[in-house]
């Protein structure tokens, strides 16, 4: 039974998913532009719509720390953050993943200070590439709702047990009302099994979590973690397959738009993908064989799918929504170029940076990037060009 299509703000769609998932604990600190998510959850706990413990902590560092504790005792745990909040909890993020605690966190991607900006970009994401969480990008309210539900299953599966970040663009998605189809409680109950951590803290079966390791053990512990994170790919794919059967909406690690015969591809993640699709349509109208590739799954890095989606194109133009200061390529561009460098006769990978601190990027600018990108690819010169910067 499909429920009626409704309009819902991106943030609230995520809160609704968390409610349907019947989370047990939300430990959170508000920060623009994620606040609507946790505010709504607090409201739902207060009215009794959601039977959960809402822990209003004093900072994001405490939020993630409290989430560690609740996840460790077997409570389904959810939180949300953005920008500076993500940075404040940074050290605890590594701990959540290395302790294999399946926390789900929505991140309303926000620019990192300074200057202080509450608006969206991906600098908060790029600062946490290495922390060991499963990371998924969504582009619209439907995807935000769907993938928050999927995140619980990906996180809590006994062969996974890794925390999951669901990235949504701050303001561009968090604060925008979009049409979407929700699911009902029965559908979600069928999709999400109960969370059972194999070693949940329990006085009857005591364990120590958060141990210390001498040099003789640390390397092996990290290898075990990396191997396990890569192995979650199977669970991620299975989850999306099951979700597709339930909802009719299928997701995959790399999603493409008109890319099959494309000579030049735009590549990005997040809501600007939808603007880029318009650019691709216009370019196609003008006779240019353009396409779009975007990351749905960011970590573990979907190497095979990326290669599959891009190998037959001549140029890949990566659009980065953050700067890695002092480097000659944006962060996503760097990763994509490295991934595709193993291909013989693979595409040239070039990049642009834009959409920083909430700056808009237009269809015309994406078309311009395609044009300039192909030219840059011929010169082989790398330098960061920031789209729309006032010289």
């Amino acid at each position: 039974m499909t429920l009626k299509r409704i309009g819902m703000e991106g943030s609230l769609a995520i809160a609704e998913a968390a409610r349907l998932a019947d989370v047990d604990v939300v430990a959170a600190y508000p920060i623009t532009p994620q606040t609507h998510i946790v505010e709504r959850l607090a409201e739902m706990v207060a009215t009794g719509e959601l039977n959960a413990e809402y822990v209003p902590v004093e900072s994001e560092h405490s939020a993630m720390s409290a989430c560690l504790g609740s996840s460790a005792v077997g409570a389904r745990t959810f939180t949300a953050t953005a920008g500076q909040g993500m940075e404040l909890m940074h050290e605890v993020l590594w701990i959540a993943s290395s302790m294999r605690l399946p926390i789900v966190m929505a991140v309303a991607n926000r620019a990192l200070s300074g200057p202080l900006s509450v608006w969206g970009d991906h600098s908060d994401v790029m600062a946490v590439r290495d922390v060991g969480w499963i990371q998924i990008f969504v582009e619209n309210a439907q995807q935000a709702f769907d993938n928050t539900l999927c995140a619980f299953r990906m996180a809590e599966h006994k062969d996974s047990l890794f925390p999951v970040m669901v990235h949504l663009d701050g303001f561009h998605l968090s604060h925008v009302v979009e049409a979407m189809y929700p699911l009902d409680q029965d559908q979600v109950n069928g999709f999400l099994p109960k969370y059972e951590h194999p070693f949940a803290l329990n006085p009857e079966k005591p364990v120590s979590m958060g141990a210390f390791a001498m040099p003789a053990y640390y390397t092996e512990a990290k290898k075990a973690q990396d191997v396990a994170l890569k192995a979650t790919k199977k669970i991620i794919l299975q989850t999306w397959e099951e979700f597709g059967k339930l909802s009719g909406r299928y997701y995959s690690p790399i999603e493409t738009y008109r890319s099959e015969d494309a000579e030049v591809l735009l590549l990005m993640m997040g809501s600007f993908s939808e603007t880029a699709m318009l650019a691709v349509d216009e370019l196609r109208q003008e006779g240019k064989k353009a396409g779009l590739v975007r990351f749905r799954l960011w970590r573990p890095f979907p190497l095979e799918e990326l290669i599959q989606a891009t190998r037959n194109s001549r140029t890949v133009v990566v659009f980065d929504r953050s700067l890695s200061f002092g480097t000659h390529l944006g962060p996503v561009c760097t990763e994509v170029r490295a991934a595709l460098s193993t291909l013989k006769n693979g595409p040239e990978v070039v990049g642009f940076v834009g959409g920083l601190g909430g700056r808009d990027v237009t269809v015309a600018q994406f078309k311009d990037m395609v044009d300039k990108g192909e030219q840059t690819a011929k010169t082989g010169i790398d330098q960061i060009e920031i789209i729309g910067v006032c010289e």
């Binding site: 605690l101 047990l161 120590s208 390397t219 092996e220 512990a221």
Partner: protein, 93 residues
């Protein structure tokens, strides 16, 4: 002692309670405690204060540090009300 990465418990959980006892820290110490049995009044204060929990009561009721664990911090010597414990340098015999 080495361990294959495959043999690590998930999340580096320690599921065997109390296995800190397998790790002998006695070779960490530079000084070791020596008890003057004439001064010792068997009050057990050293046992309570030892941060390692390595002081044990023997069959005669005296409290002795287990030197396989004792790190030589000297807290027992500082807390002993009769100054029965002295810290002496651990040297090669």
């Amino acid at each position: 002692m080495t361990l294959s990465w495959r043999d690590f418990e998930i999340g580096c959980i320690v599921s065997q309670p109390g296995n800190a006892a397998e790790y002998k820290t006695g070779d960490w110490k530079a000084d070791r405690p020596i008890v003057n049995l004439d001064r010792c009044i068997k009050c057990g204060i050293c046992y309570m204060y030892c941060p390692e929990g390595c002081i044990q009561e023997n069959s005669k009721g005296y409290f002795m540090a287990n030197l396989y664990y004792c790190k030589g911090c000297g807290i027992c010597a500082t807390e002993c009300p009769t100054k029965a414990i002295s810290m002496v340098e651990e040297v090669e015999a």
